[in-house]
């Protein structure tokens, strides 16, 4: 429903700005608190939740099976071969970590830009980041062949007198991703402390009071604490912003430092970062749309959020499209025979279909989001989020597989075919991600209550230094 033909009395539309409201009108501090905390503190877990946990848990069980067999048999059960030694593991790693980036973008960058609408969605976007990083981090580990020796990646005084090679982007990656995981968890937890205090105080059960009391570390809402808390949040946001940009840049350097045609380009860092944010926003929508419906959170996660996320996706999608066209242009302009062949092979080679899937999902169809009518249609936006996530997965597939299968020497060309273990591992991480997310939604406050309270009109002071403000009247 576009604003123009919306009924004038639609309460979700602000009459002054004609924009959809960020929070439905008529809420009080207490009502937003109850709206969020009831989901966690209820003694009646909805049946739908149990059902979803069962399904997601079974799919995660598939991951367990696949990984167990992998540890017993080795990476030979996967489709990776020479020349495609990277395969699904790296595709999934890059895809998952990219998804995580939108969480940090929403919580950090939009905080710095004072985008108030982010407040309702930042907590679960951050949770999404953490669970996506969990899924992502698993792939390089299980790809190593001997994952129990994964700690060799870190600098430590070993009896072999061995130290990591700090000139390699693969070692940079270890520091980038481990820092990213740590800072994301810390940011998420610190942001949650006041809400955990609320849950502690509202919980009726002894166990709940103890559990949330432990997590809330004795938060009592002192204004001195709030001032420090606000500073720390702002600092963490300021630190997470360059961090998130660096993480995907470093990941893209894993590719672009190699001399492979199609990889060895300087556009990779910005284009990877834009793609990461693009797919991440798509995943936020994939999660937010069913959740707001299932838990009746339409008052707090409004059409405005969906509309805004659509705009961000459109913008980042256009950056990604620019990246693709630059690649095509440079393959011609560089006058490099191998670059030219790489692009031809990408488009019309044996796996050319995957390139066109990517173009359709990432560039062609998302153009529909120019239409406001499309962006405010919840069902269509859900569909679009799935399309974009598919497209972004194929982007990584195209980058990894088409370049590796056919490099400089035709005698070393090969092909790539994923095995059932590859598919089970990938689908299994989707299950694990959903499973962790469901636990989060049930046991932790998924919408930051303290930040919602700040957004309500009654949170504004009615006078400053004894002088009433214009709209005063308390």
């Amino acid at each position: 429903m576009a604003t123009k033909d919306a009924p004038v009395n639609n309460p979700m539309i602000d009459p002054v700005t004609e924009e959809y409201r960020v929070i439905a009108p008529g809420h009080t501090f207490k009502s937003v608190t109850e709206e969020v905390s009831r989901i966690v503190l209820t003694s009646h877990t909805p049946l739908g939740w149990w059902f979803a946990v069962l399904v997601a848990g079974s799919v995660a069980g598939m991951l367990l099976t696949a990984v167990t067999w992998l540890f017993l048999e080795g990476v030979g059960i996967w489709g990776i071969t020479i020349p495609v030694a990277w395969g699904f593991a790296i595709i999934n790693f890059v895809w998952w970590i990219g998804i995580g980036h939108a969480g940090t973008l929403i919580s950090a960058i939009l905080l710095l830009f004072k985008q108030g609408w982010r407040n309702s969605i930042n907590r679960f976007a951050e949770a999404m980041t953490i669970f996506a990083v969990v899924c992502a981090g698993m792939f390089p580990l299980i790809h190593m062949g001997r994952p129990w020796l994964g700690y060799w990646l870190f600098p430590y005084p070993s009896t072999m007198n061995y130290w990591p090679q700090f000139r390699s982007p693969l070692v940079w990656d270890v520091f980038a991703v481990s820092t990213y995981a740590t800072i994301s968890v810390v940011f998420w937890y610190i942001g949650m402390i006041p809400d955990l205090g609320t849950l502690r105080d509202r919980s009726q059960s002894k166990f709940g009071q103890f559990f949330y009391g432990l997590l809330a570390v004795g938060w009592r809402g002192s204004v001195r604490h709030w001032v420090r808390y606000e500073t720390a949040s702002l600092l963490l946001a300021g630190l997470a912003t360059p961090l998130v940009l660096s993480v995907h840049s470093v990941i893209s350097l894993d590719f672009s430092v190699a001399l492979m045609p199609g990889w060895h380009t300087t556009i990779f860092p910005p284009y990877f970062v834009a793609g990461a944010i693009y797919s991440g926003f798509a995943m936020v929508l994939t999660l937010a749309i069913p959740i707001r419906r299932f838990y009746h959170l339409e008052d707090l996660i409004t059409i405005r959020h969906i509309d805004n996320m659509g705009k961000v996706m459109l913008a980042t999608g256009m950056i990604v499209a620019y990246g693709y066209s630059t690649e095509v242009f440079m393959s011609w302009y560089s006058a490099s025979h191998w670059e030219y062949f790489m692009m031809w092979n990408r488009m019309f080679g044996p796996m050319g279909w995957s390139y066109w899937v990517l173009i359709t999902c990432n560039i062609a169809l998302p153009q529909l989001m120019w239409l406001r009518k499309f962006r405010v249609n919840v069902g269509l936006m859900f569909l679009m989020s799935l399309i974009v996530n598919t497209g972004m997965w194929f982007e990584r597939f195209v980058i990894v597989v088409t370049s590796l299968t056919r490099d400089y020497l035709p005698s070393s060309w090969g092909t790539y075919r994923a095995t059932k273990w590859d598919y089970m591992t990938f689908v299994g991480t989707l299950g694990l991600f959903t499973f962790l997310f469901l636990l989060f939604v049930r046991f932790l406050p998924m919408i930051p209550m303290s930040e919602l309270r700040m957004m309500l009109p009654q949170a504004k002071l009615k006078e400053v230094h004894g002088e009433p403000l214009p709209e005063a009247g308390d």
Binding site: T198, R200, R220, A232, L243, S246
Partner: protein, 180 residues
Amino acid sequence: MPLPEGTYGLMAEFETPTQLVRAAKAAHGAGYRRMDCYTPYPVEEAAEAIGFHRDEVSLVCLIGGLLGLAAMFTLETWISVWAYPVNVAGRPYYSWPAFVVPAYEWTILWAGLSAAFGMLALCGLPKPYHPVFNAPNFRSGATTDKFFLCLEATDPKFDTTETRSFLEKQAPLSVVEVEY
């Protein structure tokens, strides 16, 4: 140290942030210094009203970040130049541009951890027990929708009857005595 006993302070409950800030200003103006406000979301004006202007979180964060930077850059240099020098196609052992990336990540890691845990430490958290939780109306309001001002008994100006009548004048919902 023996456990403190008796009165921790007097706690006034307010309906709106405006009333709280007004009362906090009045208390500060009347000479009270040992006091605190408790709110369900950050009310910066209340912090200013009770004379709390500066927090040291940024400084802790800066020091942490610089330490992280120095630690990683030193480690990389030591490893690549002295502990495990590897000659890669004649490139210098001290290839500092390559060392920038992990050093950058550790700057952020240490700065972030310092900001987060420094904030908790400066707040004196974790502190599961605090006398204000003994106020009967505190837990249902302070983290949900009510605003509290607590004038503490350790303040030299504190006097149970006088302070109570002072708080009563600030139009609170209630004034209760908080025990240790």
